[in-house]
Symmetry: D2
Subunit: 130 residues, 4 copies
């Protein structure tokens, strides 16, 4: 499929590759966190995974919103930075939590990777915009 961002009337005001990378990483992280939350909940030790489930859900919600806002790159205000910063914060916190369960749960190991990748892609986008 062609890259839709390259057809946007304001395409010269943003870095298409960094933007696409951040949107894709945020979607991947949203979906991965949702699955990790669900896998924790349906696992045998759900009662001891509540903090992981909580952070997975928060991270999924914020990544989903970040992907939506980044997919609308026309606006030139400042608020998009605030949601990207919130995304980096929650991805970092969720990655730390999931990493603690990585040995026992493959879904947590995979989720920690997705969170770190999303935080990195968001940080690269912010850095380029400053």
């Amino acid at each position: 499929m062609d890259e839709i961002l390259s057809t946007h009337p304001k395409k010269d005001t943003f870095d298409l590759e960094l933007l696409r990378a951040a949107i894709d990483a945020a979607h991947a992280c949203a979906s991965t966190c949702a699955t990790c939350s669900d896998a924790c909940l349906h696992g045998e030790d759900a009662g001891s995974m509540t903090r992981c489930i909580d952070l997975d859900n928060q991270c999924a919600a914020i990544c989903r919103t970040t992907a939506d806002i980044l997919s609308r790159p026309g606006p030139n205000g400042d608020s998009w930075r605030a949601i990207v910063e919130a995304c980096i914060a929650v991805c970092t916190e969720c990655a730390q939590e999931c990493a603690q369960h990585a040995e026992h749960h493959d879904h947590c190991r995979i989720c920690a990777e997705a969170c770190r990748a999303c935080a990195d892609a968001c940080r690269a986008l912010l850095d380029a915009a400053n």
Copy 2:
């Protein structure tokens, strides 16, 4: 209807009234921004309201996510602060934009009020948590 927050197992870890006020203000702001965006789009001067439509949509998305995260008060991590701060930022920016159109558009006047009310309720919640 009874207040569901008062039945939460961790109800002693949060200020129920401030939390309820912030959730309600975020929902009201999300809905008001969505309607303002739609009213701008279907008005006669849609072409000159694009910045207002953009900010309305961003504000609606972030308020919706904030309301969802605040409605799950069990977690004791730090990420909830990041989304509440993003909510204050976008509400403030959207209120400023809508205020500029308040004379000509009743929906922008009402929306600016809802944005300011949400920013205030979020700030009160953050202040009490520090």
Copy 3:
């Protein structure tokens, strides 16, 4: 606060009171389901409440989206019916599940009420549109 729906350029194409009632009920249900999910997860019997947590989360997500779409009443397509029907379906299923735990969990009792109220408000809106 003034009613923003009454300022919409297409206000004559929808029933303002039924629309407002459905938006408010969907927001109330989204928030109530999110809190019920979180309360179940942090309760002593989390392991036996997984189906309730699942349905709460599904219901919260669909109600949130329904409220957003109903808050943008300009479009005159047919897709809004599909999401309102999905909202009625999930509210009905979630109400049945929560009702089974109503004796032991006040949050489930309150949540079942919110789900039924949302299903009713959505059905009233659909009926009037046919």
Copy 4:
């Protein structure tokens, strides 16, 4: 990255490949519709693209929610079908609208493709579940 769905405790209750295809198509469609909406809004003929903007926004919201719910495959209730059916309905309606502008707007051409691909992936998932 490893496939997180294959680590889910209930992985034998769903078709992993069809599920992954539907989640990915829903995310791609959500992002594409959001960009198409934004590109329409910032284009020269925004005033004549309001129906396309409306449907893009509805489609983005429903696809986003569908992707979230499908990413949590543990539940065995019926409500997930209702949101997948709503997703097919809105993708079909949005594809028809965007196809009408495909000659003049590359973003509408790309968006129509993404909508059809998402509807197809959702239908394949539903068909296999019946």
